[in-house]
Amino acid sequence: MITCEEAQTICSKNQYKETSWQERFSLRFHLLMCKACAKFSKKNTQLTGLCEEASLHALTDTEKTEIKKTLSRDS
């Protein structure tokens, strides 16, 4: 049986569809046993949905560094 922290990490990994079947199996089993993690898992999946809905944009690190450079140069 995996620990809660392991389960929650696998659950987060699963949000990006990067789990092995063994991981998914142990996660499922854990969720049947553990209410707290089942709740966490539900909310985590909702968070994935929210992030998709929001169609988030972010600048890349390189772009941010560029802005920082320009700001310190020109100001």
Binding site: Y16, Q46, A54, H57, A58, T60, K68, D74
Partner: protein
Amino acid sequence: MDQEEKIRPVHQLNPNTWVDLYADYLYNYAISRVNNEELAKDLVQETFFAGLNSAKNFKGSASERTWLVAILKRKVIDHYRKINSKKGKAEVRMNYKLDEEEGSWLEEQIADPLSQTENDQIENEELGLAIHECISKLPTKQAKVFAMKTIHGMSTEDICNELSINPSNLWVLVFRARSSLMGCLNENWFAV
């Protein structure tokens, strides 16, 4: 920095942290208004510039972010003014194609403020800003990994190489970021 410290208001400006804390928030705000990534990026940069130049006018009654958003708003308005004056005032552009859409174009041009799609857009924008506000509260590394994975959709391998961490480090960071986000995002966003 010296001049800001003399003011001692409720809120203070700390321009060194602007890009890390607010760039993505402002970028999302700009994109939803100008619908163009390159332009949005420029507007964010201009906002920071204007902020630096008028830092002495900051009274500290609003938060730093609110103040920067107010500047960005002006930048967006200025942008539309500029393109409108270029176009000429009398010109009205309609994307009217001569195909099966003929006849329905007039309806499409009239925006219905209560239309469902428009409401959804507003809600999605609010949600996006709420998420970015929460991301900005995360420890830097968590925020970085979360954005790379979730927003830029980068592969685990690429992120690990770029940040020189191993996959299990990465997933722990993602897990921590996601837990904090779940705690930070208003419960209203989660369906019960």
